[in-house]
């Protein structure tokens, strides 16, 4: 136990030393390019800090460790405050104050739009939600919640019925024979080109069968036996093929995110590549 404590203390000392060295070297490099001393010291600090935090997060891949914990906790605190500040300035100052108070909008230097009593409603509902913090008035928060949930449920119902349901269903209406010109001409055109009659017809059939069996898979009130069982099994096959394809497609894209981070480390911090 003592040994591991000493080891981590040594590691910490080394990390701090390396950080300081990097800070100094980076600062000298920046001041070489003609920046004032104070600015180069400041910029070098931030660049080194970002590099340290990047490495701290990456170290999580090996195992959970104090550096990751530090970066994680810092991230949580800073990000929570960030969203609160952004919300305050953009929504409360930018949207609420201009509609309820001339003196407040004047104070924050936003154009006053005129008094609008309707903007007190969200204010009151918001305060009602905050009532949760009190044990006695906690029930008031439900009114506000009811308002939010009711409104969004109504909006969602329409939105999904329209875009995800009706539009998708009507898009499934595809002809079972593309460009049907009678038996003779049809069989004379069996080319495998992507826009060929045969390929398109086949594609339409696959789409139809895929949607059909996929929907059967999502039947809940019927036991999946017999015809239903067979169809739902085909349905899950089609689903699995799709999942595999989507996954395979994503592999490549995700690497570019890592390239971005490593470029930061190699170029902006260490200056290894140009």
């Amino acid at each position: 136990m003592e040994g591991s404590k000493r080891l981590s203390a040594i590691i910490l000392a080394v990390v701090i030393a390396l950080f300081l060295v990097s800070w100094i070297v980076k600062g000298l490099a920046i001041s070489d390019s003609g920046a004032a001393l104070w600015f180069s010291v400041r910029d070098a600090f931030f660049i080194t800090l970002a590099a340290f935090l990047t490495l701290a997060i990456l170290s999580f891949l090996y195992k959970d460790n104090p550096y990751y914990k530090f970066a994680e906790h810092l991230f949580v605190g800073v990000s929570a405050a960030y969203w609160m500040c952004v919300g305050f300035w953009s929504t409360i100052v930018g949207n609420l104050f201009p509609n309820i108070s001339e003196s407040l909008s004047g104070y924050f230097d936003v154009p006053y739009k005129g008094f609008n009593p309707f903007y007190f409603i969200p204010l009151i509902l918001g305060i009602m939600l905050l009532m949760r913090l009190s044990a006695r008035a906690g029930w008031m928060s439900r009114w506000a919640l009811a308002w939010i949930v009711g409104t969004t449920s109504g909006l969602n119902l329409i939105r999904y019925l329209r875009t995800d349901f009706i539009s998708q269903v009507s898009n499934t209406f595809v002809p079972l024979l593309v460009d049907w010109k009678g038996v003779g001409p049809f069989f004379s055109d069996l080319s495998l080109s992507a826009s060929g009659q045969f390929t398109m017809t086949l594609a339409n059939w696959v789409i139809f069968v895929g949607v059909f069996t996929g929907l059967i898979y999502f039947f809940f009130s019927k036991e999946h036996k017999g015809f239903f069982g067979a169809a739902s099994r085909v349905g899950i096959w089609v689903l699995m093929i799709t999942f595999g394809a989507s996954f395979g497609y994503t592999v490549m894209g995700r690497v570019s995110l890592l390239v971005g981070r490593l470029t930061y480390l190699f170029r902006d911090w260490l200056g290894l590549i140009s």
Partner: protein
């Protein structure tokens, strides 16, 4: 009463939002626009609830010296520092206005952005370990998953040009045809699920979210 009134409110607002869709008249549009604006404002106000919970849980850790309490202190420090910079309006240590405060911007650029981007980039590693662990021909379903993934991956790797044009066509076909069919089946299902659940919420059948007294 404490429970009936909220349910009635859900019903009224839900039904209103449904019917609003069919009424193009200005008055209905006017109410609709208000409802949307309000949701944002309420959302911001409730953030205070979250910040309160964060402070309480962190402070509790520090106070009782729970495991890793030192790190909770880091969270609190980050939080208060950022709030101070972000609300620095009149005193202007460094600059004139909240979101343009020098330290606020630099905390964003050199703490938030790098950590966020690095967390995101962990995906490159995890997608590899997940492929290694899960893409195994254990069963028919797992094999289908594996095969489809391999076909697509072969198609997009320029080193493996030799797999040729047929692989390319097959990959494009997979993305265009079965992919479309399955996505459509899922979308229709999800759409229905959402419509049905919304309806249950509006009718007061699904009411778990209100809790019980």
């Amino acid at each position: 009463m404490k429970r009936q009134l909220p349910l009635a409110l859900v019903f009224i607002f839900g039904i209103f939002c449904i019917f609003q869709y069919f009424v193009p008249h200005e008055s209905s549009e006017w109410i609709y626009e208000f409802l949307l604006a309000w949701i944002y404002i309420i959302g911001i106000l409730t953030l205070a609830l979250g910040i309160w919970s964060l402070i309480r849980v962190s402070w509790d850790k520090v106070q009782h010296r729970r495991p890793n309490w030192q790190y909770a202190l880091v969270t609190l420090l980050g939080l208060f520092a950022m709030i101070t910079f972000g609300f620095d309006y009149c005193r202007s240590f460094f600059s004139s206005e909240g979101l343009r405060n020098y330290m606020f911007v630099h905390f964003f650029d050199y703490i938030l952005i790098p950590i966020q981007a690095t967390m995101f980039s962990l995906l490159a590693f995890f997608i590899a370990s997940a492929s290694y662990r899960a893409f195994r021909a254990r069963s028919l379903l797992a094999s289908l998953l594996l095969l489809a993934a391999l076909v697509i991956m072969l198609r997009f790797n320029p080193y493996l040009g030799f797999v040729g044009e047929y692989m390319e066509q097959l990959a494009t076909w997979l993305l265009n045809v079965p992919n479309l069919a399955a996505k459509r089946a899922i979308i229709v299902g999800v759409g229905l699920g959402i419509v049905a659940t919304s309806l249950k919420v509006i009718l007061g059948i699904e009411r778990n979210y209100l809790g019980r007294d």
